[in-house]
């Protein structure tokens, strides 16, 4: 059992960031399937907003990953 409060705080932060990434990813998967369905139905107008929003979601996920990476590095190195 980890009792170091600094490490515990780090784990809590990482768990929070991970949960947020999971939520963003679920939205992104839904967005991808909806855009694909729309494209296959012959509609082109959803492709650009879909790609822009997907890019924003990916940027948010990447930022959260960098956050996790940094916290992980800081906490473990003390």
């Amino acid at each position: 059992m980890n009792t170091d409060p600094r490490q515990n705080r780090g784990l809590t932060a990482i768990d929070g960031a991970m949960t947020l990434i999971v939520v963003l990813l679920i939205v992104q998967i839904w967005l991808f399937s909806a855009t694909l369905e729309s494209y296959l139905a012959g509609h082109r107008e959803a492709a650009l907003p879909g790609a822009i929003i997907s890019g924003i979601l990916f940027a948010a996920c990447a930022a959260l990953y960098l956050f996790v990476d940094r916290i992980d590095s800081e906490v473990r190195k003390g």
Partner: protein, 170 residues
């Protein structure tokens, strides 16, 4: 505050394969987060692919093509033909004495070939029980979410002529 981890003298492999049990939790979480982020990148790439495909999609060319002679089919009769290319199978149904309809034969769910059920007067996909209306190709039941593309027909000189395909929303 920096977004990136500080440079460290510890080799990367020591980070990834720590000898300390407590550190493993971090490694596992970090690797899982990396996996999720890569999945997010794949979704983004998919959306970009759709965008590029939609930009470069050429408008379809529909030739005028005779698909059957009038009165060639009995009422309730069916004829298969290809339109607009040889790879696009379509189904022509004579629903009444003066009524002809034609649709793409590819189910909009997973592209199985649909067939005409005269008893139920509808188009049926045998793979996953998707049913389509014979009147307008709309989905009556089952997993398909889009109607069947309809072949627009004209009658001329005793022939049924396919002039174009009508997609949903087109």
């Amino acid at each position: 505050m920096s977004w990136f981890r500080r440079p460290s003298s510890t080799p990367l492999w020591q980070d990834e394969f720590s000898v300390f049990t407590a550190d493993e939790r971090y490694v596992n979480r970090r690797q899982f987060t990396k996996f999720l982020t890569l999945t997010s990148l794949a979704m983004f790439a998919g959306n970009l692919w759709i965008l590029v495909r939609s930009w470069f999609r050429r408008p379809a060319f529909y030739p005028k093509q005779a698909v059957a002679k009038l009165n060639e089919l009995p009422v309730g009769g069916v004829k298969l033909f290809s339109y607009p290319t040889a790879a696009d199978r379509c189904i022509l149904v004579r629903t009444e004495a003066q009524g002809y309809v034609a649709y793409s034969q590819k189910c909009t769910h997973l592209s199985c070939a649909v067939y005409y059920s005269q008893a139920r007067n509808r188009l049926e996909c045998p793979c996953h029980q998707g049913f389509f209306s014979i009147v307008d190709g709309s989905v009556l039941q089952g997993p398909p979410r889009r109607p069947l593309p309809r072949v627009v027909l004209e009658q001329k000189n005793g022939l049924l002529i396919a002039t174009r395909m009508e997609q949903e929303g087109a």
